[in-house]
């Protein structure tokens, strides 16, 4: 049996996983500071259970699930305020470049939190319906319906050309 993973291995894990998880967090939150807090919190929770790790690939899955769960918890606490804060959008992470590129961050910010999570997991993390359902702790049917609702809204905010019918994982 291999020995427990070390702090050095955890450091390697953090450096390897941080950019990808940060991007996931930013897509879900639309704010650099909160995204950094979210990934840091999720990684700290992962470190708290690090002694149980026997397989380094599991750590990423665990940390991503923890990140999604933690974000869900944050959303619930802030949801009531977000309902009212409609005039000022969250900090934008990317400078406007003057191009005709659709404003994806703004479009994502307009989605309810669960739909945003579904979009990020399915179309950024490329998880299928069952994997997304497992990570979010919801049924595959709910993933499909949330995906459908989200794509309908994105179709309006981004334009038909950017989100066409039929998700590849359905």
């Amino acid at each position: 049996m291999s020995s427990r993973p070390t702090d050095a291995e955890f450091t390697d894990f953090v450096r390897a996983a941080w950019p990808r998880l940060y991007r996931v967090a930013w897509l879900m939150l639309g704010d650099h500071g909160m995204a950094e807090d979210l990934v840091q919190t999720s990684m700290a929770k992962t470190y708290a259970s690090w002694h149980q790790v026997r397989h380094s690939e599991a750590a990423f899955s665990y940390c991503r699930t923890t990140l999604v769960n933690t974000a869900g918890s944050w959303f619930r606490r802030k949801s009531w305020r977000n309902e009212l804060a409609t005039e000022v959008l969250p900090e934008r992470g990317i400078e406007q470049d003057g191009s005709t590129r659709p404003d994806l961050a703004r479009a994502l910010a307009g989605l309810p939190t669960k739909q945003r999570a579904v979009v990020v997991l399915r179309f950024y993390e490329d998880l299928d319906v069952n994997e997304t359902a497992r990570v979010l702790g919801i049924s595959p049917g709910t993933v499909k319906s949330q995906t459908s609702h989200a794509l309908s809204k994105l179709r309006i905010s981004l334009g038909e050309a950017f989100v066409l019918e039929g998700a590849p994982h359905d």
Partner: protein, 412 residues
């Protein structure tokens, strides 16, 4: 197809500036997390499953949270997350907060959510209508406690907001002002009053910062409250952010301690303040039509703007109660003859969607889900009030009176 969406997501994040991780800080936070594991013992089956998950096959992984049973997950998550998701309840003098617990010195009268944890109102008895000295203890999500140096004699529900660290309440602006005691005479005669006032017209609204235990603000408002106004010793106060609202006979008084602005809201539809049924976190519930007979509508309004936010139409239930964050309106069972046989209805204010749950002594989580503890079955049940889906947590509970958390005072 949605390849274009995926391409957009990748393109958007490609240019994202990525900060450097602070590995030392992450490990420090992780160690702190590990020092405060859930204090509840993992019960037999769950413990066995957890051990099996770690050792089976030799290459077992640490348990993926998505694969744990609800009870395993409840025991594994951080105390802060457990508090967010499962809130609090009390059995006797034990306060269960998330996956931690704390013992308080007395009977729990009520539990009120704040951003710092749950505020326990404690007395000799658990009855909120008994005039007796009441004390307050803040129970943090990690189970630690802090005595709040506010002691009051009488029946006072504190006003709190799950997103705010303040406890609010009202006291007479004149410290010598005192409502007279009522003394019942012979049957058929009017009650007599001892020395004192029938109503008090000026009140101080007070906000105590629970992080320090100190009074953070006091503002004087005008509005009558006294005999006949309600069973409480002072106007009920609700709060959100820097605003406080007090129900008086003269209207619904709003005071913003960041600006000092005070106004009396008497322009909402209805027959005055008596039409307000319950208030919490910047919202209130009223009957429509006011003063009419069932069936009526229960309407949720914004306490600052009075704008209508949601409506539960055509009910004969007078039991309309807001969740502590005012995200959800709970409507009691319909009356059929002398009985109330039906389910509770939970209306999500933002969407208008209604979910039914069976009759139980539901308390609340901080974010408006329904929570109930059953000592007879060692079971805690939390139900999502938006979907109706429920999870059950197996938890060894002592015998005793169960007190749910997050009840906001009903004003009528």
């Amino acid at each position: 197809m949605t390849e274009r969406l995926r391409a957009l997501l990748l393109e958007e994040t490609e240019a994202l500036p990525i900060p450097e991780p602070d590995v030392h800080r992450i490990m420090e936070l992780g160690r702190k997390q590990a020092r405060f594991p859930g204090r509840f013992p993992v019960t037999g089956l769950a413990a066995a499953a957890a051990v099996a998950a770690v050792v089976a096959g030799g290459i077992a992984l640490m348990p993926d949270p998505a694969e744990l049973t609800p009870t395993q997950r409840f025991n594994a998550i951080s105390s802060a997350t457990a508090f967010d998701e499962y809130g609090a309840f009390a059995v006797g003098s034990t306060v269960y907060v998330g996956n931690q617990r704390a013992q308080v010195d007395g009977a729990v009268k009520g539990l009120y959510y704040t951003s710092e944890g749950v505020l326990a109102w404690i007395g000799k008895t658990g009855d909120t209508n008994v005039d007796e000295p009441g004390r307050y203890v803040l129970v943090h999500p990690d189970g630690s406690t802090r005595k709040i140096p506010v002691e009051r004699e009488g029946s006072y529900w504190p006003g709190t907001d799950p997103g705010s660290p303040f406890m609010t309440y009202a006291v007479p602006a004149d410290p010598d002002a005192k409502l007279s005691d009522m003394e019942l005479g012979e049957p058929g005669t009017m009650p007599s009053r001892t020395e004192g006032l029938d109503t008090i017209d000026r009140w101080d609204l007070i906000a105590v910062d629970l992080r320090t235990g100190k009074e953070a603000h006091r503002g004087t408002v005008t509005g009558a409250w006294g005999h006949g106004s309600g069973p409480w010793s002072a106007p009920l106060v609700s709060t959100r952010g820097t605003r406080m609202w007090a129900q008086t006979e003269d209207g619904y008084v709003e005071h913003d301690w960041s600006t000092g602005a005070t106004r009396t809201t008497d322009d909402y539809p209805g027959d005055g303040a008596g039409n307000v049924q319950a208030a919490a976190a910047g919202r209130y519930v009223q009957y429509d039509p006011p003063g009419g007979e069932a069936p009526w509508d229960l309407v949720v309004r914004d306490a600052h703007s009075n704008a209508e936010l949601a409506r539960f139409a055509g009910t004969n239930s007078s039991d309309g109660l807001l969740s502590p964050d005012a995200r959800v309106l709970r409507v009691g069972p319909e009356q059929v003859g002398e009985r109330y046989p039906g389910p509770f209805r939970f209306l999500t204010v933002a969407t208008g969607k209604v979910v039914e749950l069976p009759q139980r002594a539901w308390g609340w989580t901080p974010d408006g889900d329904a929570l109930v503890a059953d000592p007879a079955r060692d079971l805690v049940t939390r139900c999502d009030t938006e979907t109706g889906s429920c999870v059950e947590i197996h938890l060894a509970l002592p015998d005793g009176d169960v007190r749910g958390a997050g009840y906001v005072a009903e004003l009528m």
